[in-house]
């Protein structure tokens, strides 16, 4: 067992993980034997990697940690392993090992040989594979082979950190497991309350007798209550892991304390503040991840604002827009209805809405409910159908110039249209598909004065 004061530091550094720290430190204590293979598993953000690292560092065992996230191929992983083992041994023993024999490491066999060679006659060495279950381009035998490394190399201990352990990974029974359960509500709140953010970004004026100590106390007081509220309202269902919870809380924090900063409420008026800012917890906008941070805006108290369509900031050329409309129609209309909707001769287009005549008897539910076509996923279409629809919906004829085909290629390269199937580019029967949805298509159509809904089979509802 590690000395108590070291355990104390670790526990202080990683709260709510006493059990796991105690077990790990018992397993990896120098004079006593360690398990040859240990599987550490737990969901994302449960402290697996940091705690393993912390324990190994305090236990002063020679060890190397290899993160699979940073290794692009299996071979990369092996060479990384060899290099970090050599580095760790160099650092531990204090003299340089001749690295010439370890130049190449193509496969698992070579890795065993190298590890055996460099660990010959040394004390126990711990090798940690972090996230080994998501290794890219891994050889199929990677996990079972690693699990047996300890049998072949007597003084090697392997720790594998995985998300979900599957017994079939290792083809072996009797491997010890260490589970890192997700943090509970109280634990999450306790961890995050350790460093509360500021309420007042600017230091309060000294005349107000509001000392930094007082401010700190208030910060903690509001923050911990705020965390509980966030957890109960949103995080419980949508952001259960620590990182998600933290980022969510940080996103909501500034708008939440704004009334305190403005002076509307005192720092201890938590319940009134809560009622005042309840809109923050009701809207789920902040749960949507986005690169550009959007400020969580309180929804107006009465009704929701009308949703604006997706903004088309950059205008496409005129014919590109029609091409997109035609592509959308080709993707969503069944081909057999084309003559109905696009024939130039049929002047009175049938505009069926809702897929049929108005029903007289409301009580009788139709046998098969029809899904509006724009809610279905787009189906592939041949290029000529797109061009035919394009010419049918254009108000004026356009010559058959290469410009049209260039635009299709451009739309393809910005992935508004995609080729389905990885067929030959020159293949005559190649099919295409649209990648945008109804809102975008309707907005594009409207910008050139084309109402796409009139041509959509079955009409548009809602």
């Amino acid at each position: 067992m590690l000395p108590d004061e070291l355990l104390e530091t670790l526990n202080d550094q990683f709260p709510c993980r006493e059990l796991q720290i105690r077990r790990l430190s018992a397993l990896y204590l120098p004079p006593f034997p360690s398990p040859r293979t240990l599987i550490v598993h737990g969901l994302e953000a449960t402290g697996k990697s940091s705690i393993v690292k912390g324990v190994l560092e305090t236990s002063s065992l020679p060890h190397a940690i290899i993160s699979s996230r940073e290794c692009l191929t299996g071979r990369h992983l092996f060479e990384r392993t060899v290099a970090s083992c050599l580095d760790a041994l160099d650092a531990h023993s204090g003299y340089k090992i001749d690295r010439k024999p370890y130049c190449r490491c193509e496969n698992l066999n070579a890795l065993v040989i190298h590890l055996r060679g460099m660990l010959e006659g040394r004390e126990r060495f711990v090798l940690v594979f972090d996230g080994i279950d998501s290794q890219r381009e891994a050889p199929p035998t990677l996990l079972p082979a690693l699990a047996r490394f300890g049998e072949m190399i007597p003084n090697l201990s392997i720790v594998m950190i995985v998300t979900v352990p599957h017994p079939r990974y290792f083809y072996q029974s009797g491997i010890p497991y260490l589970h890192f359960p997700p943090y509970t509500r109280d634990e999450s709140i306790r961890i995050l309350s350790r460093n509360p953010p500021q309420i007042f970004l600017n230091a309060p004026e000294p005349a107000l007798e509001y000392t930094p100590d007082l401010a700190e106390e208030d910060n903690l007081w509001v923050w911990s209550r705020f965390l509980a509220a966030v957890w109960d309202a949103l995080a419980k269902n949508a952001a259960r892991d620590l990182i998600g919870f933290r980022s969510l809380a940080e996103k909501l924090w500034r708008p939440f304390v704004q009334p305190i900063v403005d002076g509307t409420f005192g720092t201890r008026d938590f319940s009134r503040l809560m009622v005042h800012r309840r809109g923050l917890f009701q809207s789920e906008e902040c749960l949507i991840d986005s690169i550009v941070p959007r400020s969580p805006i309180l929804p107006p108290t009465s009704t929701t604002t009308p949703k604006t369509g997706p903004s088309i900031l950059h205008d496409l050329p005129y014919y590109s827009k029609y091409l997109l409309c035609a592509a959308y129609l080709a993707s969503h209309n069944p081909a057999r209805t084309d003559s109905l909707y696009f024939m130039q001769t049929s002047t009175s287009r049938r505009k069926k809405r809702g897929g049929g005549a108005p029903k007289t008897r409301v009580s009788k539910t139709p046998k098969a409910r029809k899904i509006p076509r724009h809610l279905l996923s787009p189906s592939p279409f041949p290029l000529d159908r797109l061009l035919a629809i394009f010419r049918a919906i254009l108000p004026d004829p356009v010559p058959q110039t290469a410009d049209i085909y260039t635009q299709i290629a451009t739309l393809g390269s910005i992935r508004l249209l995609v080729r389905t199937g990885m067929a030959d580019v020159l293949d005559a029967g190649g099919k295409w598909r649209v990648t945008f949805g109804w809102e975008y298509a309707a907005a594009v159509g409207r910008s050139v004065g084309f109402e796409i809904g009139e041509f959509l089979a079955g009409g548009v509802e809602g």
Partner: protein
Amino acid sequence: MEQKCYIYSPDDSDERASKRRRIACAAGWSLREQLYGEFWAPLEHRIQTQSTLEEADSTTLEKIIKFVSGAVVAPDRQEAVIPTGLILAGSSIASHRSFFDRLGRKIVLDTGSTFVLLTSGECLNLKALVKSLIKKLTSRVGGNDDEEDEEDEEDENHTGNVSRIGPKLRDYDLVRLQEWYSKTKVDSIVVAIQDSEAFDFSVLAEMAELLSSWMDRLPFLLLFGIATSSESFQSNLSGAALRLLKGEEFNVTQADDIFEKIFCTTVGSPEVSLYLGPDLSRRLVDRQKDHVQSVQDFSDAVKYAYMCHFYANPLSVFLSQSLAFGEMPHDVWEATRNLPSFRRWVNTLLEDGRAKEVRRLLESDRYLYDNIKHHIASGQTAMFKLVSATSVLAAIRVIVQKVPHVPRSSLYIRSTSGELNGSPLIREMLLMLSKVSSDTFSSVLTSMELLQNSYVPIDIAVYRRELDALIKRNPNSTPLRSQHDVKNNSLRTTIVAQKVQLSKHKSTLSELDSSYSELVRRFHDDVENYFEETLIDPRDLFLSEILLYDLKSPLSEVFAPKPRFAIERALSSPHDYLGCDCCSSSEGALSGTQPVTAILYQLYLESGSIINVNDLWMAFHAIIGEENDESESNAMALFEQALANLKFLGLVKESKRKADHISKTTWKGL
């Protein structure tokens, strides 16, 4: 054995097939080439600088630079979040390259960061992406950095001191980058993704994950070039990847705004020496709006127009200012006398009864030369005045409110086609001008003062002085009103014998107002006369063929070819191309004398989407057989060849649904 290939060895005799040149008078070609250089170079320079200024949109660039330099974080970062800029660069993906090149140069110059540009072509998967990232970064500094590829077999033996180096690093190992970084110590590594949409989004997500795991050692910063919108871009990335990226979005100026500006300062500017005609300009503008939005494309088109003018029109030598009579090629005189504008001019001379002059023009080259010289100069002045008037008109229209906005390019097109004089546009503008109040009038004067390099005979300074004097005398702060302003009239209703009489009454104008009205009226008359004088139809000028280039067909043939139309036409009416006697009688009908592929294609056009091959063969045989009386096996061979040709062209393919059938994949006219 069939010979698969053979070596083509033409005999050494230098007898080249004599090509019939269609250039009637090729004289002065080198002169014209030189002239082209002189004329095009300043314009090209102007397009380049202008597009650089406008498109790069210095404010956007500044913002990005600020973002890049602001995102430099402390070396001991705990957060694995990569600062990310989303650059909405517009749908003209052809111009993205130049934008990112400029951005890269600026970032390297203005900040302590380094810049890498990645495109989708070189990043098919994560490995290739990281490889090219490392290669681009490390090769920039050292140059002699580890160049060796995966072949690490041999150097093991040669290098004796390898023992300390240990396992060689993969060329996609970011440790290499770390070593490089420890040497260079840049503030941040800016990785720009030029065409984000063309990437496989899983690659982008993996890249985000990989780079974020290195964020504690390497200061990455990502810039994504986006053609559609940031919403659609983000909706394609996974939530986990999005959580690793945080940043801002930047908007690059819209392509059509830039185009309008560039058009005004280049083609539509009074200073250019060769003017583009209305039809051609309209074609150029429409093409930008309808098909492509790229400045480069516009520049190419204008360049081609210049080339066409100078290379294909021998008379363009007259545009040279310094050429003396003796240096002129000989055949230009005869060519000039055949010009339509020459004939028109001569006719007017004859109508005026100046037959002697006409005779001299026809007989003396020297006299013709002097006249041409004179007319070129006067024609250029007239064109200069015309285009200046267009810019004056545009400037006034912008100031005077309540008129619908007409883009400058369309004004240019109208003016060069001679439509503008007395058009509703002018009348409306003049009407509004007579009603302006003094503050608007002042800004009109200001904008006219600002017009540089334009022909404005009106003395603005005089008006300015008088206006200033009037304003100074104006005691109250309200602007002076013109008497033509409708607001000064009031309607008065009087009821006389149960009839309503409406009568207009001028509200009394102060003495100041009336003198102001007088001023405005004078200005209005001046402007009216000015437009009257300058807005001519340039095509009526003598030698307008030289001053104005307005041929559409060379440009549309080169820039808007019709590949599909050409193939379809060749197959459906081969006579258009062959011009033979045998087919001309049966115009548009099938006949056995036509090429077999064409016959089969016309049969193909008549059929439905799935074609029975036997039916096709029967029809084909009927046509072939009736004229040529070929044997069936011969006809079958021809049929198979024709069908193979159609398949090669991608017009048919085997049908999976029905045996013995082929399916039609293309329709004519699309």
